[in-house]
């Protein structure tokens, strides 16, 4: 599992997946309407970016990362 982190695309994808998930949790369960909306939409954006990075990490890479 740790070896996967040598691929920077996986490291970035998993990082933003965790952060995005935390924001989604904050958006769903906490704050007033405005706060909730900001966390929610940013969380969705982060998770979408994370999924893209994780998908790219499944593809072969020509160089060391």
């Amino acid at each position: 599992m740790l070896k996967k982190f040598e691929d920077l695309r996986f490291a970035i994808g998993s990082f933003f997946f965790i952060i995005g998930s935390l924001l989604l949790v904050a958006g769903v369960f906490k704050g007033d309407a405005d706060d909730s909306s900001m966390n929610l939409w940013t969380g969705i954006g982060f998770v979408a970016f994370a999924v893209l990075a994780l998908f790219l990490s499944t593809r072969p890479h020509r160089a060391a990362s």
Binding site: L8, A11, L23, K30, G31, M38, F46, A64
Partner: protein, 551 residues
């Protein structure tokens, strides 16, 4: 500012990830070269690291502050002060840096000129990097103390400790990987601020409507220095910033050039700064627009007001943190704060890794112990890593005690940096330039800069050599840009004159180091669209359009 549990969780996740990246890259570091330089990274990583190395906290806080103070003119630090130089570096200079197989910029100077020119550049660069690293650390600790009430010493030790661990274990590659992570964190973490801020002021039209015209046009009010908020003329901007300082930094500073030199081929090394220019030209919308928004929101009475110092003046440096605190809810606040911390730590790591290379290869190996085993140099490099961070910590405490010392250091660094591009330009494109010429030209340019500063004033500063200053500039920025032009011109002329009276290196020793003596590779670029020249032309065309739109 009050952080919630979720904010701390986000911060903790970031710390875990940077350490994890350093740890998993540890096995690649089994030699001094594995620790100090890389030539196997893909283009997307080197390109993002190239701009990220320059996207430190001073830049983030400073650009938002300048946006609030000077308006959209601040974008010139990108559109005029970076993009053309990055394209020039990619097309004309990278072939020499990469093709010469030099491991560092000072080493190229040694190959092209001589050891004394290398030594001068290496020592000044090494001092600059560790002090810059210390300034980053000081800035971070001050920010955390001001915003969160964290202990100054604890903040310094925490940040320095984390940076030391991941650069010690993973070396340069670890620093580069973390720079890429930091880039995405900054862009994605700051974007919501711009979106929400623009929404509050009624979109971009609303923003323009709220601000004076001189703050929303980048060129229109530059006919006279006193007509624009920055206090600079069109000549100071185009020649001082757009030529001397910009090319001097982007084309010769090893910190950024090292990222391009890490690419896995010469072609990708050339493309690195050019592709990096694409996000770079749009960064003003992330880092400068918040400053403009802060000013517009203050004027519109939206509930947000620019921060003030105890003496009643606006504290522009705190613009970005106060915007984050005002607009971001718990959660997103953690992302914003982590992005700021990442930029401080990444700036520090970039400086420290560049210092490691220059210390080990260009000072220790060149002057102290020429022949030793690779294990010995790896040991020295790791020692330099620890030593560099220790000096950074001391610098941070020094800055806390004597704030004027940092101003003085930055001034002196400016004197040293400004003439450098003349040395490289003549070195790469004039085979007659000699080592004596380069060395005396650099010293002459630096002395000319100091002399000019000592005989002119701006905003009450300078003029330390004379009772009545020769020139009083409208702004410190105008003075700094003029000093850069004087230093560059002096270095250029002195290098030419001294070179004409001294013995040049034989042409056989200059192959691959000077343009006219280097064979250009043929048929390497099968696709004209990805040729560095085509990419560079495209980048310059888009930059030109941006200047037209915001002119």
């Amino acid at each position: 500012m009050h952080l919630g549990l979720i904010d701390y969780l986000i911060l903790l996740t970031y710390f875990v990830y940077v350490l994890l990246i350093g740890f998993v890259l540890k096995k690649r570091v089994n030699s001094s070269s594995g620790f100090l330089y890389s030539r196997n990274l893909p283009l997307w990583i080197t390109s993002i690291a190239f701009i990220s190395a320059n996207l430190g906290a001073q830049e983030m806080l400073g650009m938002a502050a300048s946006g609030a103070k000077y308006g959209i003119m601040t974008a010139h630090f990108y559109w005029i002060g970076a993009i053309p130089a990055m394209v020039f570096l990619g097309i004309f200079m990278m072939p020499f840096y990469y093709g010469s197989r030099a491991r560092s910029v000072p080493e190229y100077l040694s190959m092209r000129f001589d050891e004394k020119t290398r030594g001068l550049n290496a020592i000044s660069f090494a001092i600059m990097t560790v002090f810059s690293s210390g300034v980053s650390l000081y800035g971070l600790a001050l920010l955390l103390e001001t915003l969160l009430g964290w202990s100054f010493s604890l903040s310094i030790l925490l940040a320095a400790g984390i940076v030391m661990i991941y650069t010690f274990t993973g070396g340069l590659t670890s620093a580069i990987y973390n720079e890429v992570l930091q880039f995405f964190l900054i862009v994605l973490g700051m974007l919501p601020l711009v979106i929400v801020g623009l929404h509050r002021v009624g979109g971009f039209d609303g923003l323009v409507h709220q601000l004076p015209a001189a703050m929303t046009h980048s060129w229109r009010y530059m006919d006279q220095a006193q007509n624009n908020p920055m206090g600079v003329s069109i000549w100071q901007m185009t020649l001082g910033l757009g030529f001397v300082l910009s090319f001097g930094y982007w084309c010769t500073d090893f910190l950024v050039v090292q990222r391009a030199m890490s690419a896995d081929s010469q072609l990708d090394a050339q493309r690195t700064p050019i592709l990096a220019a694409v996000p770079k030209m749009f960064l003003p919308f992330i880092v400068i627009v918040p400053g403009l928004l802060a000013l517009a929101l203050t004027k519109s009475g939206s509930g947000y007001a620019l921060p003030m110092k105890p003496d009643g003046r606006v504290d522009f440096d705190m613009t970005l943190p106060t915007l984050l605190s005002h607009f971001y809810p718990s959660g997103l606040l953690g992302v914003g704060l982590t992005a700021l911390m990442a930029s401080f730590m990444s700036g520090m790591a970039g400086n420290v890794t560049a210092f490691n290379s220059v210390w080990t290869y260009d000072i220790y190996q060149a002057y102290i112990r020429k022949k030793a085993s690779d294990e010995h140099y790896l040991f020295v490099a790791r020692l330099a890593n620890v030593g560099g961070i220790a000096i950074s910590v001391l610098t941070a405490y020094l800055a806390a005690q004597f704030n004027n010392i940092m101003d003085l250091l930055q001034l002196v660094f400016g004197f040293v940096n400004a003439p450098l591009f003349a040395t490289f330009l003549l070195g790469m494109f004039w085979k007659r330039a000699t080592g004596h010429g380069a060395f005396i030209g650099l010293v002459g340019g630096t002395l000319a800069a100091a002399l000019f500063h000592g005989t002119t004033t701006a905003e009450g500063k300078g003029g330390w050599l004379v009772h009545d200053p020769l020139v009083a500039f409208t702004s410190g920025m105008g003075q700094a840009l003029t000093i850069a032009m004087v230093a560059w011109s002096t270095c250029f002329i002195v290098t030419i004159v001294v070179s004409l009276f001294t013995q040049p290196k034989p042409e056989s020793e200059l192959k691959g180091l000077v343009y006219s003596l280097t064979e250009r590779p043929k048929n390497e670029h099968k696709n004209w669209i990805t040729h560095p020249l085509s990419l560079g032309a495209g980048v310059l065309a888009i930059t030109f359009v941006l200047n037209l739109i915001f002119g």
